[in-house]
Symmetry: C2
Subunit: 283 residues, 2 copies
């Protein structure tokens, strides 16, 4: 395969063309404002979230993206599977079925799964609940042509957001299911620290359904809202991007930054900064 760096990056399908805005990086914008912002800044993809999509309406969101000429790279998020009772677990699986249908209606082939925390101290039981829920969703995903992208979260979220915490673990889970249906999402913020990260990216290979970038700044300003803009932190972003490319991933590269300072900036300023930092540190 031709290393993406051998291309200029600016041609269709080149690295520059793969930049995507994850909507939560500019959370004060509606879906319409976000897709129009992307169009103004030459960003050709957007990752949407269910809550703002629900506010705008699924069909209206899909239309707004189409009208702006912006493709929906993924929908965040499904998941949150472990629960104390069978009935509640079933309710969550049903909610994920709705998320699959929404992803299909939005024209994206990727639903991101943040798998959820344990309900008590029993991590093993929670991990089994995740396995079972993904298994239950596979037929729906295949029928809708929507792929489930299991996102390992940083281990600091193991108690309150995801019992899936390493790329190795997410890939092993995905490999139990057909490759058209279940894969992983590699977010640098969650996986950069892992001594095995490059081996694990290679191993995940064609199971990589998405790639998210931001940065790790230190001291970490906040566990949840502590992500940095690319280039402000310590993550070897370009090396990780090249590794994901070498593993066969050629899809959108989403910028997803939860950070109160960046959230307080004007949306157009954020998008201009993202473009510059993406070219300098990722492409």
């Amino acid at each position: 395969m031709i290393p993406s760096d051998a291309r200029t990056g600016d041609e269709p399908g080149g690295v520059a063309d793969r930049l995507s805005l994850n909507q939560m990086t500019v959370p004060r914008w509606t879906v319409r404002e976000a897709v129009e912002g992307c169009a103004r800044h030459g960003i050709r993809h957007i990752g949407l979230w269910r809550e703002p999509v629900a506010e705008c309406g699924v069909e209206a969101s899909a239309r707004a993206a189409r009208d702006a000429g912006v493709a929906v790279s993924s929908l965040c998020r499904g998941g949150w599977f472990p629960a104390a009772t069978h009935a509640e677990r079933q309710r969550r699986i049903d909610d994920n079925r709705r998320a699959i249908a929404e992803a299909h209606a939005l024209g994206t082939d990727t639903l991101v799964l943040v798998c959820g925390p344990a309900t008590d101290r029993d991590l093993d039981a929670a991990r089994r609940m995740v396995d079972d829920a993904v298994a239950a969703l596979v037929p729906d995903a295949i029928a809708a042509g929507v792929r489930l992208a299991i996102e390992p979260l940083h281990p600091m979220f193991a108690a309150d957001r995801s019992v899936i915490v390493t790329l190795a673990q997410a890939t092993m889970l995905a490999e139990r299911f057909p490759p058209v249906a279940v894969g992983v999402l590699a977010d640098v913020y969650h996986i950069w620290w892992d001594p095995a990260v490059y081996e694990e990216i290679e191993r995940a290979g064609a199971r990589i359904f998405g790639f998210h970038v931001s940065d790790w700044i230190t001291p970490l300003p906040d566990v949840l809202f502590g992500r940095g803009m690319m280039g402000d932190g310590v993550i070897e972003l370009r090396r990780l991007r090249r590794a994901v490319d070498a593993a066969g991933y050629a899809g959108p590269i989403e910028v997803e930054i939860f950070n109160r300072e960046i959230h307080a900036m004007a949306g157009d300023d954020v998008l201009a900064l993202i473009g510059a930092r993406y070219r300098a540190h990722v492409a």
Copy 2:
């Protein structure tokens, strides 16, 4: 081996007898106050830190512990190896040689290593610097009869405290050296989230030179000072303690809690609480 739970726990060498106070759990106490506090509360071991030991004096600290009838379970901490220049790396190795001598003088056979962060974005280079520094220290450790216990830190400290972040990684590093000289320290706060933690404890086996307990509370109040008292969080403490015992570890179990609320409590209240929680959740 007899499972430790088959004993009452109160006989000499039983689980109750293995409780150790890591000094930083009660950081306002001097060494003398801390060892006398341990003696008052029937705690037979203490983990000391270099800074308060230096304030008291190494010999005076050793004497205070002996006078109180409290054994020094470990000295924290050596490490912090990666640096930008050769001269600075050498300076740090020399400082670790002093730490080995201090451990010997204090009568403990265990020096805890917190290996330090990278100086830039290059994790691989920093990890090689750690390997090289440990290799340089092995002869000194063997000569002094002091074991180096590599402590993997939680991945949320990868950028600012330790490029060694999993028990697997620490064990692989330790296995390059003689088992009398280099092993690992298993601290539940740093390793509990790991999907492979029980396999890794078993693999570490006789390389386990120390075991620290606290808890993971959620939402995490602070990255550095966010540790909880045993029983207040989500960690399966007793299961982990049994796993470490089954791997062959029979040494002290240190309670190490960095938490501003606990640090603000009266020392005797903290020790009484530790005793009760240790019996309820660990022993």
